[in-house]
């Protein structure tokens, strides 16, 4: 049995760990609140800009012309660019493992589905922990630093520019973004979503959960209204006027849309990260509390055993004297 002094030391050190995890829990809670608020604010804009592009591309289909290169899917997919959004720091439970596993799985699925034997995947990282993907034998193309709390669209502009450029010059035939969708503070889902080419037919998937449900009080009635009135059963029923010209407007609008989608993904990831950390730290604090309880019990037992042993010795000594 461990001596009572050893146990006392352990109790002390676990108590300290508990203090730290509790502090981290509180920090995570504050950051989470901010991150969630930021993620919610962008949703209206993301939805409206998506619908505008939707309208535009339908206008194009009506005229049997393809309006923009970013909107046309490629026939042959050889190389896929994946933007992987992870956290900068650990101690957030299975957050990073979950997203990396998800990416790995979806690459495998792709490869088993496609006719071509090998589809190459290259990664653009946002956040430090994404490097782990390298150990699984994937190439990393770029690594962008990430702030803990994203506040401006500006932060994702370089990433967006890079992938658009690589897509247009034929490096990538498809660009995906892997991020963790924030459902609620107790639930986050890793997701892999296509951002290039912008495919119109599967709008819902690309917007992810953004605006799809009212779980967080999203103001979506306007958007729904718009969809019903102006996009009846997917048919486009009037002509658009573009000023200055369709190409120019789309040239500006589409990159903007991609930026916004990336930004939204980043915000969702941040919100998820902080709530994952909150949960992990909460558990750690509780586990530390339990452990202190157990150790205190064995400490008391050891103490009692010591006392009993001492009494036994004394009375044995006294008996010997008699």
């Amino acid at each position: 049995m461990a001596s009572s002094r050893d146990i006392k030391n352990r109790i002390k050190s676990i108590g300290n760990t508990k203090k730290i995890t509790r502090a981290m829990e509180m920090v995570a809670a504050v950051k989470m609140r901010k991150a969630v608020a930021a993620a919610l604010k962008t949703r209206t804009y993301a939805n409206l800009s998506w619908l505008t592009v939707l309208n535009l591309s339908r206008a194009g289909n009506g005229n049997h012309q393809i309006l923009h290169r970013l909107l046309t899917p490629r026939k042959e997919i050889k190389k896929v660019g994946i933007i992987l959004i992870t956290s900068n720091r650990g101690l957030c439970g299975g957050f990073n493992t979950a997203i990396i596993n998800k990416v790995y799985e979806s690459i495998k699925k792709y490869q088993s589905m496609g006719e071509q034997a090998v589809i190459e995947a290259e990664f653009v990282l946002i956040g430090k922990k994404g490097v782990a993907i390298h150990q699984r034998g994937h190439k990393i193309m770029a690594d962008f630093p990430k702030l803990d709390l994203a506040s401006e669209v500006k932060e994702v502009v370089p990433v967006a520019n890079l992938v658009i450029h690589e897509y247009l010059n034929g490096q990538y035939d498809k660009v995906l973004v892997a991020y963790t969708d924030f459902i609620s503070s107790a639930k986050q889902i890793p997701r892999v979503k296509q951002i290039l080419p912008i495919e119109i037919e599967q709008a819902d998937e690309y917007l992810g959960i953004v605006g799809q449900d009212s779980r967080l009080g999203i103001d979506k009635e306007f958007i729904q209204d718009k969809e019903e009135k102006h996009l009846p059963s997917g048919k486009f029923n009037y002509e658009y006027v573009f000023e200055p010209s369709p190409a120019e407007v789309l040239n500006e609008l589409l990159p903007r849309l991609i930026e916004i989608q990336l930004y939204q993904a980043l915000l969702e990831s941040n919100a998820s990260e902080h709530s994952a950390r909150l949960a992990a730290m909460h558990q750690a604090t509780q586990a530390a509390g339990d452990m202190v309880g157990e150790l205190t019990l064995s400490f008391n037992k050891a103490r009692q055993a010591g006392i009993t042993a001492e009494i036994a010795e004394i009375s044995a000594g006294a008996n010997a004297l008699l």
Binding site: T52, E243, R256
Partner: protein, 145 residues
């Protein structure tokens, strides 16, 4: 009389700036300033930094500054996707002028070859100018009333 009003919404990535029924709106597009009235033909246009002037359903004027974005006109709806936008009521002239002065200073520095992003500074100057204009227009309207 519902035909004479348009549903209007202006959003930025950060928030919904305004959501109202309006009877007309004037916006600075790349092709020049245009006014959208009810039953306008569907239109998509990119916007320049400047002042947006809307007439609300109740007859009041609403002045907003915008630093660029997109305008989408639908049958009975107008949507503006702005990079940044503020209502003139929310703006503080002293602060805006201060920001404008700082941006101008930065521009000077950039011209002298310091390592500052020139286009970004220019965009900031235009944004602050648009805000100043919006405030002045707002004050003018208020005084006339």
């Amino acid at each position: 009389m519902s035909d004479n009003y348009i549903k209007f919404e202006i959003v930025t990535p950060e928030r919904v700036v305004l959501k109202e029924e309006i009877s007309q709106i004037t916006v600075p597009t790349k092709m020049g300033e245009i006014t959208v009235l009810p039953n306008h033909i569907p239109l998509v246009s990119s916007l320049l930094p400047g002042v947006i002037h809307a007439k609300k359903k109740n007859g009041q004027d609403e002045i907003m500054s915008i630093s660029g974005g997109f305008l989408e006109v639908l049958k009975d709806k107008v949507v503006i996707l702005a990079d940044t936008a503020e209502r003139a009521e929310e703006l503080d002239l002293a602060k805006v002028e201060e920001a404008h002065r700082r941006a101008a200073e930065l521009k000077e520095k950039a011209r002298r070859g310091e390592n500052i992003d020139f286009t970004e500074v220019n965009a900031a100057i235009e944004r602050e100018l648009a805000r100043t204009k919006a405030i002045k227009r707002w004050r003018k309207i208020k005084n006339l009333e």
